[in-house]
Amino acid sequence: MQLFVDGIFLGSIYALFAIGFTLVFGILDRLNLAHAAVFSAGALVGIEVVTRFGLSIWVAIPIVFALGALLGVLIERIAFRPLAGRHDAHFAGLISSIALGAIILSVLQALYGADTRRFPAEAFPSTRLEFLGATFSLLQLMILVISVTLMVVLTWVVAKSKLGRGMRTIAENPHAAAVLGLNVGRISSMTFAISSALGAVAGVLFTLNVNAANLGIGHAVELKALAVIILGGLGSLPGALIGGLILGLAEVYAVNTVGSSWRDMVAFGLLFLVLIIRPQGIFGARKVREV
């Protein structure tokens, strides 16, 4: 039971990262590789706000959320919008977002150095809970709840709200969207803002959970999150959640049955297996383009 619980909570971290990631990747069809840098920025700025100004974590999270949203808008404006007219906009944006991510990380390094930092021990109550013989922390439970809630809320937003309809229209055909009178720029900005705000808050929760933050934490999770998105099905928010949980469980069971050295091989092997059986991912719908 402890294994199952460990796997679920590990997976909910991957899901948290993947949900923000896939909002842009899966729905706007842009791969924003600066997302990892935003994740690190959220963690480090959160730590700064809590340690330097002595604010409570509950005040820090909205600050980090706002910062993430701001970064998202900047990423969209700097790395993606100027390239929107190019025929290779997808790849060009991918590369320019790597560059922007590197710039964000350099700024963070100049501000906070390369050392590993953490939130003060008392920043979050270290309450331990027990469920069917397995123990976990209040924080881990909270992360799982947040992931599930986000998935539900965002799925609704994308499917039903005006913003969501705009997003989907733009992804399908930006020119048609503009012709239809949609403000393409504003909707893209909003999507990036939501995505990055979630990424930054994910960084804070991740850091609280593992008690360590440094410049590289975003990249460590990024690859796993990409795998989770592919596994769950591109653009599917429930897929990102379920994919995250599956990867978390696979890793934990790999460690305990096959051996810790084989963890990544087993986890990523499983990913391939799923994709062979179901190339569109667990929740993915095969896109049919009609001419």
């Binding site: 050392d115 590993t116 953490r118 008690n211 360590a212 590289g216 460590a220």
Partner: protein, 393 residues
């Protein structure tokens, strides 16, 4: 035409003269030595050498490793002053900045070699040493590293020595002390297997545990970029080990230690060199209490020389010395011993003397130099107690 020819000849001979001038400056000290300059009479404490023995030191006074280099420089200058007061043998020390840059360090080494330094101390970082030491080896000038701990430094050649303990030397002593203190019977070993430094630390731990007859119930590996260790730790917890033995860099050490305590592993955690950092205590806070790690030096050591050294250093420089300072100071003590053994400041004689160093009392304790030209001395096994490294007893 002929005038041109003449000037070419004149230019050529000028160049030759200049070259000759260069080459005469280089062997000057040894020429002096033949006249009784660097070779003295008597031996050991009675040794008396007429000329000053030139010592070159290359430390990182600027650049990334600057904080280490400055305490090395302070300690070495203090050691030279102390030794010159003893009488009989006097040293003249030149400290140059390698700027934490191997290229600059090579230039500094070249300078020392051509200026006739009897021995070169440094450089600060192992990375730099790997590039500078072959230069000295080529020129047959002895080098004493006082802070390099990477593998493969003394293998560069028979002129390369060091007084800084390697991880291979510290770990067996750490394990032995922990086994005795806690009656360890079975442990779980964890290490990151994608980093050369932590992997070699693991090898040393595995060998030491076998030597001590401790059962390893589980060996768990992780990646140096990992931050969530709960799954591994839950697995470790199942075999209820007497201790966790961990070889990891400090970036992984901090979350690993805090998560171990969080899921309720209260057993002692024995760490490799990556744990020997104030960053562990700063990062892990209360969770770091009880972490055991070996080190070459600790300020709490009760060695008489060390107590006097700390007091004198603190008085002179207004800051407490660190391990880098202690190892630099001890380095000069070892050089003095090597010089006095043959009562000579000649490069070859110092090299021979360094090879014979056995149980020389220094601020690090009694230091010997083994057949691999590496230092051997008692390591200090530390335990984190009340936010600092105390000595495990």
């Amino acid at each position: 035409m002929s005038a041109k020819h003449l000037s070419a000849v004149a230019g050529g001979s000028l160049l030759l003269l200049a070259l000759a001038a260069c080459s005469t400056t280089a062997p000057a000290p040894s020429g002096e030595a033949e006249a009784g300059g660097l070779v003295g009479s008597g031996s050991g404490a009675e040794c008396s050498i007429e000329s000053e023995i030139p010592i070159g030191a290359a430390f990182s006074l600027t650049g990334a490793a600057a904080q280490y280099g400055s305490s090395q420089k302070n300690a070495l200058e203090m050691a030279v002053d102390d030794l010159n007061e003893v009488g009989g043998v006097t040293y003249s020390l030149t400290v140059e900045d390698d700027a934490t840059d191997p290229q600059q360090a090579i230039q500094v080494f070249d300078g020392f070699i051509s200026d006739g330094a009897s021995i070169i101390v440094g450089p600060t970082l192992s990375n730099t040493a790997k590039q500078t030491n072959p230069v000295a080896q080529e020129a047959s000038v002895p080098v004493l590293g006082v802070s390099n701990t990477a593998a493969g430094i003394t293998e560069i050649g028979d002129y390369i020595f060091r007084d800084s303990l390697t991880e291979d030397a510290v770990i067996p002593q750490t394990v032995a002390a922990a086994v005795e203190k806690f009656d360890l019977e079975k442990v779980v070993v964890m290490y990151s297997n994608d980093d050369a430094f932590t992997e070699s630390g693991y090898q040393a731990f595995a060998a030491a545990l076998e030597e001590e007859g401790v059962e390893v119930t589980e060996t768990l590996t992780f990646s140096k970029t990992d931050t969530d260790f709960r799954a591994l730790l839950d697995k470790a917890k199942q075999s209820s080990p007497d201790a966790l033995v961990v070889s990891a860099l400090v970036e992984a050490a901090v979350p690993l230690v805090t998560q171990a305590r969080e899921i309720g592993i209260d057993a002692p955690i024995i760490g490799g060199n990556g744990f020997n950092s104030p960053a562990l205590i700063k990062g892990a806070g209360e969770a770091a209490e009880g972490v055991i790690v070996g080190a070459a030096w600790n300020s709490a050591s009760e060695n008489e020389q060390n107590v006097a050294f700390i007091e004198a250093y603190t008085e002179r420089f207004d800051v407490a010395p660190d391990q880098f300072a202690a190892q630099a100071y001890a380095g000069m003590q070892i050089i003095d011993e090597a010089v006095r053994a043959n009562c000579s400041g000649e490069r070859e004689d110092i090299k021979a003397g360094l090879g014979e160093i056995t149980d020389v009392p220094t601020v690090l304790g009694e230091v010997s130099i083994n057949e691999n030209r590496d230092a051997e001395h008692e390591a200090l096994v530390q335990v984190v107690e009340g936010d600092k490294f105390a000595i495990l007893d």
